[in-house]
Subunit: 264 residues, 2 copies
DNA sequence: TAGATTGTTAATCGATTAACAATC
DNA sequence: TAGATTGTTAATCGATTAACAATC
């Protein structure tokens, strides 16, 4: 297959940067809220604030879509909603399947935001025969045996995996073989897929670990730096050094029990 | 407060890039799996494959942590598990609260990966009085009235918000006022928080929309480019242009019903 | 010593941002 | 016209990657 992709093939038609694509849904959400309040126009400054980004970035992002604003005035809310929806492919209907109807799968099935924007839950699929036929979020759970036919019959191209980690790759393989080309993975595993298949990953424990990293840094900064020598030479044995749990700072200032990592 | 942060204050002690921090949990997961299989050492190449990144990036990432490998040999699995855990702050105990015990909150409470790595669910909190006392994942649901005392008593610094969008900001404000400084937000809203508080967001519908964007592109590319003129002049009215739902390509090649966006 | 693999360099690429000319 | 705000430029910053010298 050759990982070759020397100069980025011109294939990437009207190239919108990934970072921009990832923000379009945020803009769309903010615009939808404005639309519901019947606000006719909005400036980049206002919209940026609502979406939680800065206005220069927003204008740059919009410039990739075209010139949809009016200098001195701002952006027409309805028009922009339509343009962004179209760009994201939300003006068409995307049937999706959710595989793995445990706690999480059921939560996803019940999630309203699903239906609202172009997505339609075509089927809920679970490997447990006891689940088959049971209604979840108004849909009867289907058995895994039917996976291929469900995908084919409904023209499903997007699959959501909410199975345990151990089953995820196998489910993924079947989804892909049946024609799914985009996967949203909630199972804590790295999925391997053939080229041309997109995988996005939602991982609770990764997010928590990133927060813990920053949280630890905050605790460390309270006593200011100069607390560790060079970071390299560290005891290869040592049972995990623990702080007395939490060491929370209600606010910001130092609160006593800080040393999170003490030098050997 | 001055948004001022001219040259990036030296505060950022031993600065590890954000992109690297976000990958450390991936490496840790792969390493933990190796550790369970009692694999003693691993090369950057092998580990990178397991984590789904390329080896140059992995080595660069590790170089920020220190020199923990051995040239010609690789990395000691146990040692690296310990070092990354420590770097991420997982060698200490992080009590967390989950607010909003609907489908999603319950799913999160039941999620095993939570407890396994340094995180402990200190309490489940819900605004519905009818939920109070009910056991979910072995813990009795507590009423929102108790939020502040729970946080203070348990030294909670990380909060998970799984409420409806409408309640999220208010819950966030109370969490922050009570001392929480890191928030994982599952509600589809932009939260505003004071400086010093970290927010990470998990948003199903954003992820789906990003997938839809790429999915649409795939459909478009099958007929190759040159199919739309300049993108600008688009009908301001026009009911959303629709494809016959799906227009799926089983595999890669063209499959007949392709044109996703047709010129007006 | 010969082979393997790390840690680091330097080039490249992509994303962010302030600033401002264009223009409504 | 004067005021407002977009769309774009250019500088800067951060992330990725190939390549290879260092070294086990």
């Amino acid at each position: 297959m050759a990982t070759g992709r020397t100069h980025r093939p011109a294939t990437r038609s009207r190239g919108i940067p990934e970072a921009t694509v990832a923000r379009l849904p945020l803009y769309l959400r903010a615009l939808t809220a404005l639309s519901e309040r019947s606000v006719p126009t909005v400036s980049s400054e206002e919209l940026a604030t609502a979406a939680g980004v800065n206005s220069a970035k927003l204008r740059k992002d919009f410039s990739y879509l075209g010139s949809y604003g009016t200098r001195g005035v701002g952006y027409d809310v309805e028009y922009l909603v339509y343009q962004i929806s179209r760009e994201l492919g939300l003006t068409q209907d995307w049937p999706v399947v959710i595989v793995g109807i445990g706690n999480l799968g059921a939560a996803l099935a019940n999630y309203g935001g699903f239906a609202s924007r172009g997505f339609r839950v075509a089927a809920l699929i679970d490997a447990d025969p006891a689940m088959a036929g049971k209604p979840v979020a108004g849909l009867p759970v289907r058995h895994t045996d039917e996976l291929e036919s469900i995908i084919t019959d409904n023209g499903v191209s997007i699959g959501v995996i909410a199975t345990p980690a151990g089953a995820a790759q196998q489910v993924c393989d079947r989804l892909v073989a049946a024609g799914v080309t985009s996967i949203l993975n909630f199972a804590p595993t790295v999925l391997s897929v053939p080229e041309g298949v997109d995988v996005r990953k939602v991982d609770l424990s990764i997010e928590l670990q990133i927060l813990a990293f920053h949280e630890q840094r905050k605790a460390g900064e309270e006593t200011t730096s100069a607390q560790e020598p060079a970071a390299a030479a560290q005891p290869r044995s040592g049972a995990a050094v623990r702080t007395p749990a939490g060491g929370r700072a209600a606010g910001k200032g130092p609160d006593g029990d800080v040393p999170a990592v003490m030098p050997a």
